[in-house]
Assembly symmetry: C2
Homo-oligomer: 435 residues x 2
């Protein structure tokens, strides 16, 4: 008897990779991405020439302290003064530059104190002096100073209303900058006529410098008139203080008001390219899909579709290959409440469920900062055996996804990715090997 | 004053495509995908040699009638008998093959009548006779016959419990086949010793023939023992009828019991390749991402990330390019209830929102069957102006997404994709041009 299935021509390459090789390659790609964003490794190459005059270092963000330490390490013989503010727990030892810690995502008193002190430090410098501004994600909350006559509560009320209004991130930022005494270029404005060089780590898709920490050293193209139109268009309720402030507020500095020297030292795309270089050295064709957002669980389902297509049809690329993506996904907690898990672990578990045990696929998803929401892990590894092993360990992976409780599963399976805190952040790296 | 932003090397190609050219290319790609699955165009090439004996045509699915008409058109001089069953409203005129209509997704009396009649028609044939089985999506409900002693309600109760249990599609299908008197190869078994040739249109990811319409003409690798294990493992409640049936049920035919000749005449991947061929003829590099699932809205956000990466970094491909994907996404209706919209329109609107007016991106998303859930449209077009035009027309696109009410927006904008019912189905086609 003849059995024939006249299927379309498909690519059914044998799986040429084994689990040990795959796990090691995933870890190597993830670490290459993290190291591409490590200030101690990459900052020095972006420094300007040493200044003839004074050197003042300011900065804000989750990487501010380690960036300051990297400046000191690169210029051991340069006398410098300065202050940077980072998140509680993110300080590292420095010799000359002071490190403060403040709160994220909601600013606290230290956010204001550090902002005031930085503005004071950069005032009165001359044209031979250099201000190094070290900017990274989270800086907007960590260094926060409301405009004259405004309180933090005023700013936050407007911000919350805007986030719910459907306003774009650019519209929200235009308002934020105008309600601040340090953002939207006001820090650089205070430093004139000193030479200001910004060294930045981007954690925003597209790396728009005016969005990273709300651009304290960049001229602002938005105007008070824009801000008033935005607030009116989205019908944002305003306190009498905010109304009064907007009538008399000083305009943000505009392009041309001062020279801008802005250097991106680490970005999500640089991290993806570092992972791709590592993939190439390991004999894997890589496809960099970009910085992806959306719900973690759904991205897991989408990525499973692509992995299946690679395995079955050799499209979008032929195996052995790796699908690389960055960006930050979302976990929406439903009525059931949230368990223990992070955006990357939830992506990984969803991918494992959607792959339904597909042979020859291995993946890692982790946050480059080393902390995936909950606990002490950066993310997790999965493969075609994850589902069966989770079930054998007594877990119902579909229910776990519903409860956003992926950490205990990966902990039980020994499949957590652990790097420790990396003190940098270029969002997630997801790597899916189809071997 | 010098303004320098030391950004990483990025690909910022000028937009070389214009809106008219893009819209026309999107339509051409969509229609190429649909035509690749049109039985009247593609079925004839897959027919076996004309039989020396009798020719009996049976079949089920949303395309069954038009596939029957295509057989008659290809073999105008062959005498044939037969019956196919399609969905209400999907009949087309035929000369020799009878067409019945039944209900989808929940079977009705006609589903049973047609199944019984087809089993009768193929019994008693000889080795020189040919049975053509025309199989397409929806066939499982449209041609449905419970095993001896079972009712439709028995089958449905087990099916519902399995769908909620976390069982895999393969496990669910194993059970379905064993509870049926026609699926899992029993139709082909009844036709022996006639030569059975199956012509199939796939609407399932991966095109597994045993999944399309639950494989009425394919031997079944699953056993009653498997079924009992699955029902036990997922703790599925069983009626006394089902319990009794499983103790005495006849095993499904196994590989080797009869010869199998199964021909996929149209698949989602063939449709994607047809669209890619059209893209190439128009000067667009295409990237076929595969058959993608997940929530429509989240796939829109994911696809926006990829389009942005193509525009900004030339990754995963350099523009002018098109990202092609198929598969069937989901729309989960929340507490707010559902409005008027389909899975493809919702994807398109979400993509437009996530693109935030990005210049030089144009997209279409539509269902190959010509009906995207609601109304008379297959899907919708979007571009960088969609968001602003929707707002100018008085819509709040974010609220519209929340209400799953995208049809009226695209209707008002004149951006609906209208093909009329195509009588075939290889799921969605999504094309995103980055010009």
């Amino acid at each position: 008897m003849s059995d024939t299935v006249h299927a379309p021509t498909v690519h059914r390459a044998d799986v040429t990779w084994d689990p040990t090789k795959a796990r090691s390659a995933l870890l190597a790609m993830f670490m290459a991405a993290v190291q591409s964003a490590d200030p101690l490794k990459v900052l020095a190459a972006h420094l300007p020439p040493r200044p003839p005059g004074r050197c003042v270092v300011v900065g804000c963000g989750k990487s501010a302290a380690v960036m300051a330490a990297a400046v000191e390490a690169a210029w051991p013989d340069v006398a410098m003064a300065g202050l940077v503010v980072t998140r509680y727990g993110h300080a590292v030892p420095t010799r000359q530059i002071e490190v403060m810690e403040s709160a994220h995502p909601v600013p606290d008193a230290n956010s204001e104190i550090s902002a005031r002190r930085m503005l004071e430090m950069v005032r009165g410098l001359g044209p031979n002096d250099l201000v190094l501004a070290l900017i990274s994600g989270g800086g907007s909350a960590l260094m926060s100073l409301p405009g004259p006559g405004l309180t933090l509560a005023d700013k936050q009320a407007v911000n919350r209303a805007l986030l719910l209004s459907g306003a774009t991130i650019h519209e929200i930022n235009a308002v934020r900058k105008h309600l601040s005494a340090i953002k939207g270029g006001r820090l650089a404005q205070a430093a004139a006529p000193a030479h200001v060089v910004t060294l930045a780590i981007s954690d925003v898709p597209g790396d728009d410098p005016s969005v990273i920490a709300s651009g304290p050293t960049l001229p602002d193209v938005s105007t008070i008139a824009d801000v008033q139109n935005i607030l009116k268009h989205y019908d944002i309720p305003l306190s009498s203080q905010v109304k009064r402030y907007l009538q008399t507020a000083p305009e943000t500095p505009k392009p041309g008001d001062f020279a801008t020297d802005y250097r991106l030292i680490a970005t999500p795309m640089m991290a993806l390219k570092a992972a791709a270089d590592t993939a190439a050295s390991l004999g894997l064709t890589s496809l960099v899909l970009g910085e992806l957002e959306g719900e973690s669980r759904d991205l897991g389902i989408v990525m499973a579709g692509m992995a299946r297509s690679v395995r079955t049809h050799g499209l979008p690329i032929a195996p052995p290959a790796v699908l690389l993506s960055g960006g930050e996904t979302t976990v929406t907690i439903g009525q059931g409440g949230g368990g223990k898990g992070g955006r990357n672990m939830e992506f990984a578990l969803s991918l494992a469920v959607a792959l339904q045990g597909l042979h020859g696929v291995w993946a890692v998803a982790g946050d480059s900062d080393g902390i995936d929401g909950f606990g002490d892990a950066a993310g997790a590894f999965i493969d075609g055996t994850t589902l069966a092993r989770a079930q054998a360990a007594g877990y119902d992976p579909v229910a776990v996804l519903h409860q956003h409780d992926s950490f205990p599963v990966f902990d039980a399976l020994g499949d957590l990715l652990r790097t420790g805190p990396t003190l940098t952040n270029v969002n997630a790296l997801r790597a899916v090997i189809i071997g």
